[in-house]
Amino acid sequence: MTASLFSRFGTRRALLAGCLLMPLVIAGCSGNYPVKPNEFWNSLFRPSPAIINGLGLTIGISVAAQFLGVVLGVLAAMGKMAKLRILRVLAGIYVWIFRGTPLLVQLTFFYYGFATAGIFKWPGLTIGPVNILPEIVAGIIIMGVNEGAYMSEIVRAGIMAVDPGQTEAAKSLGMTYGQTMRRIVLPQAARVIVPPLGNEFNNMLKTTSLLVVVSVFELYNTFSTAAGRTYATFELMAACAIWYLLLTTIWGFFQAWIERRLARGTTGSTDQTDYSLRARLIGLRNNSGNQGH
């Protein structure tokens, strides 16, 4: 029977389906546990408003924090390469602290720690009709600042990968440091920065789950709460994992598209490089000889 399944759907598709169904298969085999398949299927195909809300928060917070991270990363990278010693030192301290301590500690310290000590209480934010809760504001900013420390190294590597002749050519045309950076160096550095930046955002989507400690109801917290209520931890966490997998997979498509756009004007840009989802996910390249039967 397995053989016929494989030949009918193709090996990879059959394996993929197998992986997705694995939790239920295991549950079915573990005699005493009363499986609640509805909790699993409903949270996937008929998600409650809470889950939709959690999804939205996860995406929104990730995008905002990553954006902040990129901005801070560029600033910190330029700081690290600045002529002025004080800028180099400041950028160094920033990266040192935020890369050297756990995000979980940063979140609790700056949110609860600051509030308890009476130093600073995070305010909510109102943008037009939208009210953003204080814990979400704190989450975005703390995660963004943390991300900036990692981005700074990525941006710095990207800038250093640009041929110094480019800077000299720009200078010789009378461009200032700022113009040279904005118009010549950073657009070229972007090609080097974007692939690891994609990885960072993939990470960010998943790391937002840590915001459970400041009680933001993002995806993980929503599922975790539901699990506490229904005791269907096994089914709900499996479904939660699939939601995250879906997010990171869709992001994979975007990343491939952006990388193709940025390849303009580089060697090999005329090649039909295979950036298919399958190639990115499981590291297999499309070649016709390998396509099932």
């Binding site: 041929d163 002749g165 050519a169 010789s172 045309l173 200032t176 113009q179 070229q188 004007g265």
Partner: protein, 305 residues
């Protein structure tokens, strides 16, 4: 008139005629000294380039000729001496030698080596060079075009975008005006058809011709060429030299570091021979090539001619 490679006459017509330098002596370098760490690469180098003159600097590798030309638009710092272009001191400001730290851009800048003015008739130590603000250096460079050995075209921009980039964003020319000038320049270096092509799809010779057009688009009073044909395949050298010859003929003020002795003989008003950081001899091409007065020039020429 068009040559086989498509290079046309009236190159400078594309930028509204020959740029007029403000002074008779366009480049005036006096007693320039430069160190890389402990290595003394330029030793009291003095070179002048007059208006509409083409000066070719020759010499063995490591003689400091490339370093010198890079000092002229302050891509390299100097430790002593003065370089004036168009009457302006390049890259530095003179300040009183002793009497506290000079203030530049709000913060004190301390040079690693003491810089002492050595101009004749001046008390040594009376003034001191302090590196100028980055913004001022940038505006000085607008008047100095530079062509590099490795072209250094911007790979993320098409040929025309490379040319109009600085006129638009540095000079503030309108895009329409810049496009007209850019197309005229491309046409005159024989590459009108390559307007929307990215540099990596062009040959070395084509890239270098676009690099020359890019520098010309700023209407510079002076053009610097740093071994412009050294990275080219032999069959492409001709088309680049052709553009340079045309520029010289039309009266562009040029300083060229080159190993192309044929070009020097044909185009140069003066040839400067450098070796080990020193100007060994200078004179008309005839003098230097046919009757060199220095032993080092003879040895060098016998090796390459």
């Amino acid at each position: 008139m068009t040559s086989p490679s498509g290079v046309r006459t009236d190159l400078l017509g594309a930028i509204g005629g020959v740029p007029r330098p403000e002074t008779d002596v366009v480049v005036d370098a006096r007693d320039v000294n430069k160190f890389f760490g402990r290595l003394h690469v330029l030793k009291d180098v003095s070179i002048q380039v007059k208006r509409q003159e083409t000066v070719v600097v020759i010499g063995p590798s490591g003689s400091g000729k490339t370093t010198f030309i890079r000092c002229v638009n302050h891509l390299e710092k100097i430790q002593s001496g003065r370089i004036f272009v168009n009457g302006h001191l390049i890259g530095y400001r003179e300040t009183a030698a002793r009497g506290g730290l000079p203030i530049v851009g709000g913060l004190p800048i301390v040079n690693r080596l003491p810089i002492v003015g050595r101009r004749k008739g001046k008390d040594p130590g009376a003034t001191k060079l302090v590196e100028d603000k980055e913004k001022n250096v940038a505006s000085q460079r607008q008047e100095i075009g530079m062509v590099f050995q490795r072209f250094n075209l911007f790979p993320h921009m098409t040929a025309i975008e490379n040319i109009i980039e600085a006129p638009i964003h540095v000079r503030g020319t309108s895009k329409d005006e810049a496009m007209v000038m850019g197309r005229a320049l491309l046409e005159r270096v024989g590459l009108a058809a390559k307007e929307n092509v990215y540099p990596n799809q062009l040959s070395g010779g084509q890239q270098q011709r676009i690099a020359i057009a890019r520098a010309l688009a700023m209407k510079p009073a002076l053009m610097l060429f740093d071994e412009p044909t050294s990275a080219l395949d032999p069959e492409m050298i001709g088309e680049v030299l052709e553009v340079m010859k045309e520029l010289a003929r039309e009266g562009m003020t040029m300083m060229v570091v080159s190993h192309e002795m044929g070009f020097a003989r044909e185009v140069a008003n003066r040839v400067v021979m450098m070796d080990e950081g020193v100007v060994v001899e200078e004179g008309t091409p005839d003098q230097v090539f046919s009757a060199p007065s220095q032993e080092r020039t003879k040895t060098f020429l016998s090796k390459i001619l």
